[in-house]
């Protein structure tokens, strides 16, 4: 299996604040990799660097062999990013929004139509896709955005807190869509969350991050075993105290 993402000694400072302090991890192709930690741990900063939005202060990130700083255009061509607080254009309909996004990745109309069909399946929004986004509930918006992120079958999907703020039903639907899509399409997914149960269900491999440092890494089973914990929440607490 090839390396999808290689992060080496990544550091990022905003003024006097050090958001990342030497983070390193590797994500293999077709893997769902979870970056988990509390709010302010540095998850979003790490994902923003991988998705070429911001530059690292030092360190190196490669996505399928492309350096995110030196070759950002190549990296943007193979990844799809879903930010935590993402929104959609409120005066476009769901369908118009998907078509607008699909056209950046497709080469012809047929390919665009295929992507939109994928998005319709992933979102499960049906006829509501013809309505303007400003009439959508929070859950519907998130499903639309997830569909947008996955419809073009990217080699790498980066999902920042994909179920944040959603009710149980909507969160369940989003999680199921991610799992099903990844299994079916073999897409590599880097996901961040502070919901330990969610990542345990979704991820093949995890990195626990706290205060800008990776404190533990492994499969959910390995981590639970290492810290003699009954779930990841307990494992995280143990890892934090030991760290």
């Amino acid at each position: 299996m090839t390396d999808a993402i290689v992060v080496s000694d990544l550091r990022k400072s905003f003024g006097n604040i050090e958001a990342l302090r030497g983070v390193s991890f590797v994500v293999r192709e077709n893997e769902i990799f979870g970056l988990i930690g509390p709010n302010g741990a540095g998850k979003t900063t790490a994902l923003r660097i991988v998705s070429t939005l911001i530059s690292p202060t030092s360190g190196r990130v490669e996505v399928f062999g492309h350096d995110v700083v030196k070759e950002p255009d190549k990296v943007r061509g193979i990844l799809s990013y879903l930010p935590e607080e993402a929104g959609a254009y409120q005066y476009l309909s769901g369908m118009e929004y998907l078509r607008f996004m699909a056209e950046f990745y497709s080469h012809d109309r047929a390919e665009t139509d295929r992507m939109i069909k994928n998005a319709e399946e992933i979102s499960g929004l049906g006829e509501r896709l013809r309505d303007r986004v400003n009439g959508y509930s929070k859950g519907m918006k998130r499903r639309l955005l997830l569909a947008r992120a996955l419809m073009m079958k990217p080699r790498l999907a980066i999902l920042d807190e994909p179920t944040s703020g959603l009710d149980v039903m909507q969160a369940y639907h989003v999680r199921e869509s991610i799992k099903e899509y990844s299994d079916k399409m073999g897409v590599t997914i880097l996901v961040s969350s502070h919901n330990m149960l969610e990542v345990e269900y979704l991820c093949h491999k995890l990195a626990l991050i706290n205060e800008g440092v990776i404190i533990a890494e492994g499969t959910p089973a390995e981590l639970k075993e290492r810290y003699n914990a009954i779930n990841l929440e307990q494992a995280f607490m143990e890892a934090t105290q030991l760290g």
Binding site: L53, D73, L79, A86, G87, Y89, Q90
Partner: protein
């Protein structure tokens, strides 16, 4: 569909479908100006009607022939109320109780003075009750009627004197012995038009250009600021910045979309404003002088240069607005931030609308000339007068400024500042605290 086209269409859809923008930028000028124009027209028509139907009062202490014929003359032209009173004070008191706006007072000895060749003095009282235009205009109408009577009376007197002296001459030529014909020389062509009339026409026509440019630039700034701020407000900017499309293409899409809406807004504004001018100014007598033969007015080359001038002006203003709007979190703060730009655009436009740059004090001239948008206005005036070198010079100056601003905008777009830049009241107070320390 190309990425730039996709982005531009998205921008246009987003801006046009926003009710605030659709109403404020496109529909408002189309509705507001015609309503304002119609209101002024109705008001003016009422004033005209009031003047035409106004009545006059006359109080005369003189019963001579001049006073009598004057009274007859006034009565044939308007409804006249003759006031019977024992004194002027009583007459004034009675006059105030009438609906007349003006009262002609001819004192005792008025006719004798006039017939004896001494000036006859009369007083016209204006009854200013409601402080409106109709009242003063009515007073002027009486004055005009008296002047007409005075003119013909003097002609008759001159004719009589000439007959008595046995001389054959034109009484009008004796009364006004010198006649002046004003002509103007423009670019070597002699026109049988007074300089006043030319300036009046040039002002009427060239004033529209600075207004149009100013309005279009202000609309464009609002559009560009809103376009960027909407991305931040709707949390769509991060997604947009990770798409496989060049950051400069994203910038280009924003600029193009904003220009399209700004031009639509400016056209709506000009249609509305044109209707306003047409209806509000319908009562004034505009000169119909044709200055095209003297090379005044915009020729085809001028139109091309003017278009280029407006284009570079728009692009620079948009790029500047985008640079500022990047620092705002939402539409409201973006519009407040870009509101700063209105000052260097409006001030030169207003000053140059009514005066020439060379008439201003040197220091003031240099300050104005340093502002790029001054050159947009100068170029529009110069294009009107066929001074293409000034237009080219102005375009060159604005273009250099535009390149600098576009470079700054491109820099912001190609770095993480587009995501991380924030300009808040907190950061401002922090800056001041640092300065104080």
């Amino acid at each position: 569909m190309g990425s730039l086209t996709s982005l531009t269409l998205k921008e246009i859809k987003e801006l046009v479908r926003d009710p605030k923008i659709l109403f404020g930028v496109v529909l408002m000028p189309l509705l507001l100006f015609p309503v304002m124009g119609s209101a002024i027209q109705v008001s003016q028509q009422s004033v005209e009607k009031a003047i035409v139907t106004s009545t006059f009062a006359v109080y005369t202490e003189d019963s001579g022939v001049v006073a009598s014929t004057m009274l007859d003359y006034l009565e044939t032209n308007r409804t006249v109320t003759v006031i019977q009173a024992d004194s002027l004070t009583q007459a004034i008191a009675q006059f105030q109780g009438t609906t007349s706006n003006a009262m002609v007072y001819m004192p005792s000895g008025f006719s004798d003075n006039v017939t004896a060749g001494v000036k006859g003095n009369m007083i016209i009282y204006g009854n200013v009750k409601n402080m409106n235009i109709a009242e003063t205009q009515s007073t002027n109408v009486v004055g005009t009627l008296v002047n007409i009577y005075s003119y013909y009376y003097s002609l008759a007197r001159i004719e009589n004197l000439l007959q008595a002296a046995g001389e054959a001459a034109n009484p009008d030529a004796i009364r006004t012995p010198i006649s002046i014909n004003y002509q103007s020389i423009i670019k070597g062509t002699v026109l049988n038009i007074s300089p006043d009339a030319i300036i009046s026409v040039v002002m009427n026509q060239s004033i529209m250009l600075p207004i149009m440019i100013m309005v279009m630039v202000m609309f464009a700034i609002q559009m560009a600021a809103t376009s960027i701020a909407l991305e931040k407000e709707q949390k769509t900017l991060e997604t947009l910045m990770t798409l496989p499309v060049g950051r400069l293409t994203v910038l280009g899409g924003k600029l193009t979309g904003s220009i399209v809406i700004a031009v639509a807004g400016a056209i709506a504004y000009m249609i509305g404003f044109g209707y306003y001018m047409g209806s509000a100014m319908s009562f004034t007598q505009f000169s119909t002088v044709n200055l095209g033969s003297a090379g005044i007015g915009i020729q085809p080359v001028g139109y091309v240069l003017l278009g280029l001038n407006i284009f570079v002006t728009l692009v620079s203003a948009l790029a500047l607005a985008i640079c500022l709007a990047v620092f705002a979190d939402n539409v409201r703060s973006a519009q407040s931030l870009t509101g700063i730009l209105i000052v260097p655009i409006v001030i030169p436009a207003i000053i140059l609308m009514f005066s020439d740059i060379e008439m201003l004090p040197p220091t003031f001239q240099w300050i104005l000339l340093a502002i790029p948008y001054t050159h947009s206005i100068l170029a529009s005036k110069a294009a009107f007068l066929g001074d293409y070198w000034t237009v080219l010079r102005s375009i060159a100056y604005i273009s250099v400024f535009t390149v600098v601003v576009l470079y700054a905008a491109a820099k912001i777009f190609s770095t993480e500042r587009i995501i991380t830049a924030r300009f808040t009241s907190k950061s401002l107070s922090g800056l001041f605290r640092k300065r104080q320390e």
